[in-house]
Symmetry: C2
Subunit: 212 residues, 2 copies
DNA sequence: ACAAAGTTAGTGATTACTAACTAACATTGA
DNA sequence: TCAATGTTAGTTAGTAATCACTAACTTTGT
């Protein structure tokens, strides 16, 4: 299956394989759940197979390696980010409400799929694995690009300050978002990510805004 | 040695063991270097012993376990943060220059000791190890408290905005700092952390400032 | 004399992964 | 129509390699 099922996603210009069988998706989700529950070090093929209620060897009917599972997982998240951010861009015209909607989308997505949370704090588990390394960098870059587009537009239209370079504003917004996600994870998802997240992003937006 | 050398640090009110033999410090540094070079997964007792130019068993003359090495390492960094932040507080009276000096201190420290960089992005390797988990939380908390003190003072004296709660300002500043460190790490320390860091923190400070 | 700091040679446990086999289902061609 | 053939997705029973760690012994410095 692995060799015959390696078709490319037609709409994707790059070499990324976005296609995934339903069974592969199940495995990815189970893997993500194991990581967020017990940490990356506790993601072993044995435990993952147990979760899937099949043998370890069955894992290798669906993925070439453990690393491939992780890469596939990150790419799946990246695809979701792309899709959701494009949808938001279609629905919200103005920079400020669009920025809010972008983060709202992230909050509700991770609330529904906490198994992908760890991908945000990766860069630590990528270790000695160039493939997942690349996948994670790609994910960060995609998020950054979408953020940059809104911020830049907001600066042009005068709702965000021009006194600070676009990339720095993006950095500040992204850093705030990431720390928020980290604290949600550390707290064991012990607070409402959307409520707290909204007021936090409101604060950032008011800081970089010109109207105040 | 391990049992006889477990004296407490007199000036430390908590139960933290800050004392460390010179040889233990060497081991901690070597471990940190291995992690920042090749990732946490590549920190094995075998490789660490190789780096130290002695046998694996020799490691256990200095530490009770691999976990103890990590905990010791994080506690060492925490002690450094405390000491440096107190020194900065002594030297710089006003909130704004003190905030700048705090980050300058971090930048030059990590430039000189990149082996401790990974401790900032931990929370991923703490996994299934309650002791290092606690140590990392303590480190984050110490940094947060020192930041909070300056920001709060700045708000009182009117140089930082009162329109946003202290903790949110702290969050934004800390998030920006952490992302900066992460990008420095990802880039393979490929840029001047101080130069870029200063202009970044200048941007944040101008945003949360009232003078404009 | 003696403790601190090293050595060698192992331990059992766990790791990701593989070989060989099979039941169920799908496709094909006379 | 239906047997031949192939594919998919599972199984059991391993593999070599690596992991953190230990027991017993030796060297070294004061």
């Amino acid at each position: 299956m692995i060799s015959t099922d390696m078709r490319r996603n037609a709409k994707n210009h790059s070499t990324m394989k976005t296609d995934i069988t339903p069974r592969q998706l199940e495995i990815i989700e189970a893997a993500g759940r194991l990581i967020t529950e017990d940490g990356y070090a506790m993601l072993t093929t044995k435990r993952l197979a147990e979760r899937m209620q099949f043998s370890e060897a069955a894992l290798y009917r669906h993925f070439a390696s453990k690393e491939a599972i992780l890469v596939s997982m990150i790419e799946h998240l990246t695809a979701s980010v792309k899709q959701r951010m494009e949808e938001v861009a279609r629905k919200e015209e103005l920079p400020e409400p669009r920025l809010r909607a972008m983060f709202d989308s992230h909050f509700s997505y991770f609330k529904a799929h906490p198994e992908y949370l760890m991908a945000i704090f990766a860069t630590n588990f990528m270790e000695s694995s160039p493939a997942s390394d690349r996948a994670i960098k790609e994910l960060m870059e995609v998020m950054r690009q979408h953020l940059r587009a809104v911020v830049s537009e907001g600066q042009k239209s005068g709702v965000f300050t021009k006194a600070i370079p676009t990339d720095m504003l993006v950095h500040i917004v992204m850093g705030t978002f990431r720390l928020h996600m980290l604290q949600w994870r550390i707290s064991g998802r012990g607070f409402d990510i959307t409520r707290k997240g909204r007021s936090l992003m409101d604060a950032v937006i008011s800081l970089i805004g010109t109207s105040r």
